[in-house]
């Protein structure tokens, strides 16, 4: 999870490294720790460390981690030759390693030779049938070939064994959303919220899915989840604030005929609108008229 402080630190370090201020190794470590995908930068700065024997020897054992990181970044940038060189270096150091075998499979993937990659992964799985990363790679491979239904099937099979793997649940949810299968996606997000109840972004995504599904009951539920997102972020999440306003407007429209209780909820969206106005005033004053017009067009019940 990337926290607010960590994100600021990452951006600061990235700026510093890009302008030649040093600290490349710290930057690469942070990228690895936060698991963000900055392949081009990792490739550039990682290679400059690896090509400098003095800097490289300073890393000690960490050198091999860097080789792996750079290899994956190179594959992501389609620099297959660099990836191959890195993997060869790793192979010389760790001839029997499973992890290097996995990298080789990924190299085949990056080249687009899916059949060979499949063979490589299958032979690795024979040695160790419960290797999670390789099973995930197979899902990714199906996805890369455009075989989304195959990926879903594979992922479901994987999740039957490894139910606690939240990354896989998230991937499945995102695939379902991309296919507009919102009911299934909602189930995955429920699972994620159960797994990690304090991550506001899962609440937010679940609320989004429910809002998209529509219907009075779903809308009310979605509003609750937007509210819990606000609770967990201290009102710093703009999307959740907008979500509250949209949900209130939609609920008001649906329940126009039957006048229901809902006295307390009117307070909620006025508060959200007020917070939005305050945020816009602080951060981008030029867009404030746009916001007020949008909020007026929503015809929020008051």
């Amino acid at each position: 999870m990337v926290g607010a402080v960590e994100e600021a630190q990452l951006n600061r370090l990235e700026n510093q490294v890009d302008n030649g201020g040093g600290g490349a190794w710290e930057y690469l470590c942070l990228v690895r720790k936060l698991k963000v995908r900055r392949s081009e930068k990792v490739l550039k700065h990682g290679l400059s460390i690896l090509n400098d024997p003095k800097q490289r020897s300073k890393l000690g054992g960490e050198e091999w981690t860097l080789y792996e990181q750079v290899a994956i970044a190179a594959m992501d940038c389609q620099c297959v030759d660099i990836a191959k060189d890195c993997i060869n270096a790793l192979q010389r150091k760790f001839p029997e390693s499973m992890r290097v075998g996995r990298l080789k499979g990924m190299l085949l993937e990056a080249r687009g030779s899916w059949k060979d990659a499949e063979v490589a992964y299958s032979s690795l799985l024979e040695d160790n049938p419960l290797d999670q990363v390789i099973q995930k790679r197979r899902v990714a491979m199906a996805k890369a070939q455009g075989n989304i239904s195959g990926a879903i099937e594979c992922l479901n099979k994987y999740l039957e064994i490894f139910m606690a793997d939240h990354e896989a649940w998230r991937e499945l949810a995102e695939i379902y959303v991309s296919l507009q299968m919102y009911k299934q996606a909602a189930f995955c997000y429920e699972e994620l919220i159960l797994c990690q109840p304090l991550v506001p972004l899962y609440h937010l995504a679940y609320a989004d899915v429910l809002y998209t599904l529509g219907g009075l009951e779903n809308l009310q539920m979605s509003k609750k989840y937007y509210a819990s997102t606000i609770d967990l972020t201290g009102g710093k999440n703009t999307r959740a604030l907008f979500g509250i306003c949209l949900c209130s407007a939609a609920i008001a429209q649906l329940s126009k005929g039957r006048n229901k209780e809902d006295k307390d909820s009117s307070e909620l969206h006025t508060l959200a609108a007020k917070t939005l106005e305050k945020e816009y005033k602080q951060r981008s004053l030029t867009k404030l008229p746009l916001l007020t017009a949008t909020l007026r067009n929503l015809k929020l019940p008051s």
Partner: protein, 106 residues
């Protein structure tokens, strides 16, 4: 050694002294053949002082307190990690080959 740690040591010494005085007081009572009803005031004061010192040291020496609120600046989650285990190389970046011609020197 830090200032807080010294205070902590001092607090422990005071507590030990209070314990010693209590034992002495009880043996004195035994000689005088009186009932033990309570501690003398100065020992109680000593105990309280030692407690305050020890508590202060225990709260400051081990380190700073971290926030447990989910929305505090340190804990607030702003983005999820990119799902690197499911990374796909067959993306649109493939169409735009990078202009860098970097090489791994051997």
């Amino acid at each position: 050694m830090s200032f807080g740690f010294m205070i902590g040591v001092f607090g422990v010494l005071i507590l030990a002294h209070a314990a010693y005085s209590t034992i002495q007081y009880r043996s004195l009572l035994k000689i005088l053949e009186e009932e033990f009803s309570g501690l003398p005031m100065n020992v109680v004061g000593e105990l309280l002082l030692g407690l305050v010192f020890c508590m202060w040291a225990a709260l400051t020496v081990p380190g700073k307190f971290l926030s447990i609120l989910p929305y505090s600046e340190e804990n607030r989650i702003v983005s999820l990690p990119d799902n690197l285990d499911f990374m796909v190389f067959n993306h649109r970046g493939k169409v735009f080959p990078s202009k860098m011609d970097l090489k791994l020197k051997r």
